[in-house]
């Protein structure tokens, strides 16, 4: 899929970051508004797919040098560790907790272990989607 569409390539560079920002927004919104790890991950994957359409697979793998299998594995690990972490505090598996913190720059905010679990979901979704697309795209 060699392409040299200049307009598409230029716009996609900008649009990619817009979509990525939207994805991150969706991810963090998840707990309060529609959104979350699933949608966030899928939108991120969509952004990368757009990149793939504009450039070819080799260029994208140089631009985004991730091994998506690792992304999947790390995501799964984060989710399981978040769930298992509660055992350390002698509460049942999968007990979440949250609290309000005052963070510099951001201000008063609540931090939630559920968000950590959702981060795992996000990474798995991105990882799996991209693994699938990349392997199919690479195979000749």
């Amino acid at each position: 899929m060699k392409s040299s569409d200049v307009i598409l390539q230029t716009t996609s560079k900008i649009v990619f970051f817009v979509i990525l920002l939207f994805a991150i927004h969706l991810f963090f919104e998840g707990h309060y508004r529609p959104g979350g790890g699933f949608v966030g991950g899928l939108v991120t994957a969509g952004a990368i797919v757009l990149f793939l359409l504009a450039f070819d697979i080799k260029t994208v793998s140089i631009l985004l040098p991730f091994d998506y299998k690792w992304v999947t594995a790390i995501g799964l690990l984060i989710s399981i560790l978040t769930a298992a972490g509660s055992i350390v505090f002698n509460v049942p598996f999968f007990t979440h907790t949250y609290d309000h913190f005052h963070l510099p720059l951001i201000g008063e905010t609540s931090l939630h272990t559920a968000a950590l679990f959702d981060l795992g979901v996000y990474l798995v979704v991105v990882g799996v989607t991209m693994t699938i697309i990349q392997t199919i795209g690479e195979s000749e």
């Binding site: 899928l42 994957a45 559920a114």
Partner: protein, 800 residues
């Protein structure tokens, strides 16, 4: 978990380490490592001897599946202990013997000892479990570990045949045993034997009593190679000789005996006499048939196989006849009790002399290269020690003094002669058959015992017919049989060493209704005893028959080969295979479409029937949402999409139509107040279309194949029916609300304590986090699967 449980499970645990030892210490024979366990276990079980002396028992329980009344209860009483000692004692000797029998260079020792240990553990489990389900589990374990042992030389056609045969027959019996156990459970509500004994009366008068008895006996008879299920045992002789010595003399075949003895306290009370006639009758027929057939064999191991069948029949018949004792009142001096004592005593004796004989045959096979008595002969001078062992073992088997076989054979005669004094269950008319057949079978026993010794060791030495130059066996190989024959002599001279220590407790567990103490086994019963003349008759007639064997052996030709049970088995097996093959082929066509059609037709049938029979279809229009113009447009879009896909000729059209349906569904989600779903569906649909397009690069251009009109019509009928059923379910499930929605909890707790506002997301990551965790696991697996499907082939191509 008590020490007893550990003792039963230790062979299984030990078996795990065998392969590592085999790999790690190539220079040491794996048998030495294995040997430790049976010896330790034997010593461990020895210390129970004083504990079970007075008929008491040791019970340990750990719960396994308490909801089903299944606990791993271990009970050590006289009978269990006797068997446990046999299993570990003979097990030690056999392991020692196998070290010299199996060469460490040529054989796969790791698998052999793993199987052997599995078998040992399973046997211990059978004899020590008090819970019948646990017993059954171990019982099946013995079946398949013996399958592996018999088929140990799996490259031989005959080994595989023998292994399969024993497996099929014993597993058939095992299933029947399970049936019997379940019937017993229905009658008593417990799986524990000791609890069943507590309410024997309820069982005896129950309608299921006779079926349960027959089922359990089927299990016991198949395992103990009783007529007509004996056919597997001669074929099982393809196993390495240590295995035969272990499984087919001392342990596995005696599991059936154990079972009969174990359930005797329940079933011997049978008021119809069926138990006595079945156990005693089948036993005595087996005794006769086995000994009669042993004579015509030419393979030493085959002779021993038939001899084992016959001896098992002997013990079985004693258990059957002994059951009559319960039907007489005089409890302390009941003359029929002797049969039970004889059974226990002969069980021990048989293990000693038959074990040693099997080992002798193994030595002969090992040192001369053949087991065929037509090629053997004159080995007396070459293998003097082996000859001595064989002589003692065979003479004990023949029932000649002063060996232990003589004592138990005499007691056997006593038991059988006393049948003449019984006046119940038609024994007064037909009972004479028992001593008669017993005596005739003993004559045959004498004859084949002589054949084993003299045809092998006397006569002319024929070195040209042997593949190896015969010489005496190495010392290590002789140790185990020497120990066994020393026991033959010791038990023969001092039988009362055993009587109070183990025979009495064991007999006590078989017949807890009686008191077995002060058992005295004597060699001499006086000039007037019929046993004396029976023994003399056996020796005289037996010797005559042995000497004139060549003349009367023609008798065997009277039995046509075609009518044997073996032929029946051989004929039944292929027809069973072809029959089931035909049956499977008739509906398992290999077409995915057929299978899907079955699934859909069943779906329609079952759900349609349920809706109709339960009158489940209801429409409740009270609470439905109103229909707007948007919804109608969207519905039409979906319908158009579906129709387009069905009639589309190009794949691109169909994918675009599928995408359209997907986007419409996400619009529905918007209307139905599900923003999360709408978002996800939108993005997924986009990525899916990209994925389809990517995959199209590799896929055929054609979207459909030629299909006949009939094919389409059938499919259309099935699919319309599925659609209607699902629509009916959708309407009814909305209209009937049997329960309140469980989501009320989620709605109320989203903000406090879960700390979120988007209920769907909170459910996903918090309330039902497990679902999500498994979901992302599945997703990862799918991703890895795709990666593997594509990448692995590439590396293979590169290598190729």
């Amino acid at each position: 978990m008590s020490l007893l449980h550990i003792a039963i499970l230790s062979p299984f645990i030990f078996a795990i380490f065998i392969p590592f030892f085999y790999k790690g210490f190539k220079s040491i024979h794996t048998g030495w490592f294995t040997l430790i366990l049976p010896i330790v276990l034997f010593l461990y079980f020895l210390q129970f001897l004083p504990k079970v002396g007075g008929g008491s028992s040791v019970i340990e329980t750990i719960s396994w599946i308490p909801s089903l009344n299944i606990d791993f209860t271990v009970k050590v009483d006289g009978l269990s202990l006797l068997f446990a000692l046999l299993i570990t004692g003979i097990g030690s000797l056999v392991t020692l013997y196998s070290i010299y029998y199996l060469s460490k260079e040529k054989e796969q020792l790791n698998t052999f000892y793993v199987y052997l240990l599995l078998f040992m553990g399973a046997m211990l489990g059978v004899v020590l479990s008090d819970n019948l389900i646990v017993l059954y589990t171990f019982w099946e374990f013995t079946s398949f570990s013996s399958f592996f042992l018999i088929g140990y030389w799996f490259d031989r056609e005959k080994s595989r045949y023998g292994a399969q045969k024993s497996m099929l027959i014993t597993v058939f019996g095992g299933l029947s045993l399970l049936g019997g156990i379940i019937l017993l459970y229905i009658m008593t509500g417990t799986f524990r034997i000791s609890e069943m004994l507590a309410n024997v009366d309820a069982i005896v008068n129950h309608a299921l009593f006779i079926p349960a008895m027959i089922f359990i006996l089927l299990g016991a008879f198949t395992k103990s190679a009783q007529f007509p299920f004996h056919i597997w045992l001669p074929d099982a002789m393809e196993a390495p000789t240590p295995v035969s010595a272990y499984l087919h003399s001392a342990t596995m075949v005696k599991a059936g005996i154990y079972l009969v003895a174990r359930v005797s306290p329940i079933f011997a009370l049978d008021q119809s006499g069926l138990w006595i006639w079945l156990v005693g009758g089948i036993g005595i027929i087996t005794l006769f048939w086995g000994s009669f057939n042993a004579i015509k064999q030419t393979d030493l191991k085959a002779i021993l196989a038939f001899s084992t069948i016959s001896q098992l029949g002997l013990i079985m018949s004693l258990l059957g006849v002994g059951a009559a004792a319960l039907h007489y009142d005089y409890l302390d001096d009941n003359i029929f009790m002797v049969a039970i004592i004889a059974a226990v005593f002969h069980l021990i004796n048989h293990a000693t002399f038959k074990g040693s004989l099997f080992m002798v045959v193994g030595i002969i096979d090992h040192e001369t290269g053949t087991r065929d008595i037509r090629r053997l002969g004159g080995l007396m001078q070459i293998m003097p020690i082996t000859f001595t062992i064989a002589f003692i073992g065979a003479f004990s088997m023949a029932g000649i003094p002063p060996f232990n076989g003589f004592l138990s054979k005499e007691m056997f005669f006593t038991g059988m002669v006393r049948v003449l004094q019984m006046d119940i269950f038609h024994l007064e008319t037909l009972g004479f058959l028992f001593p008669l057949i017993a005596w005739v079978a003993s004559v045959f026993t004498f004859v084949y015992s002589m054949i084993v010794v003299w045809k092998t060791f006397a006569g002319k030495y024929q070195p040209d017919k042997l593949s190896k130059k015969a010489h005496e066996a190495p010392l290590g190989m002789l140790i185990s049989p020497v120990i066994l024959v020393s026991l033959v002599i010791i038990f023969g001279l001092f039988p009362n060493l055993l009587s109070d220590t183990i025979i009495a407790p064991a007999a006590q567990s078989i017949m807890p209704q009686f008191i077995f103490d002060d058992i005295h086994i004597s060699h001499w019963h006086g000039w007037k005893s019929p046993e004396l003349y029976m023994t003399i008759g056996v020796i005289v007639i037996g010797a005559l028959l042995y000497l004139t064997a060549a003349k009367w052996k023609r008798v065997y030709r009277l039995f046509p080969e075609k009518l044997t049970f073996n032929k029946l088995y051989d004929a039944l097996l292929p027809s069973l295979e072809t029959g089931s093959n035909l049956f499977i082929r008739s509906h398992m066509t290999g077409f995915l479409r057929s299978y899907l059609a079955y699934i859909f037709i069943f779906f329609i049938g079952i759900l349609g029937y349920t809706i109709w029979s339960k009158d489940a279809f209801t429409i409740n229009r009270a609470n439905t949402a109103e229909i707007g113009i948007y919804e109608i447009v969207l519905a039409l879009l979906i319908v158009i999409g579906c129709v387009t896909i069905i009639f589309a000729k190009s794949r691109l059209t169909s994918i675009i139509a599928l995408g359209a349906v997907g986007y419409t569904v996400s619009l529905f989600f918007v209307i139905f107040r599900a923003p999360d779903l709408a978002l996800t569906q939108l993005v997924i649909e986009t990525i899916s279309v990209a994925l389809f397009l990517l995959a199209f690069y590799h896929l055929p251009k054609k979207f459909r194949h030629e299909e006949s009109r009939r094919f389409k019509l059938n499919n259309a009928l099935i699919s319309i029916a599925v659609g209607v059923i699902v629509a009916l379910i959708a309407i009814s499930s909305y209209s009937t609300k049997l329960f309140d929605s469980i989501s009320k909890y989620y709605v109320e707790h989203t903000y406090d304590p879960a700390g979120g506002e988007n209920m769907v997301n909170v459910i996903l990551v918090d309330f039902r986090g497990f679902d999500t965790l498994f979901e992302i696991s599945v997703l990862s697996i799918a991703g890895l699967g795709i990666y593997g499907l594509i990448k692995l082939r590439m590396t293979r191509r590169k290598e190729g």
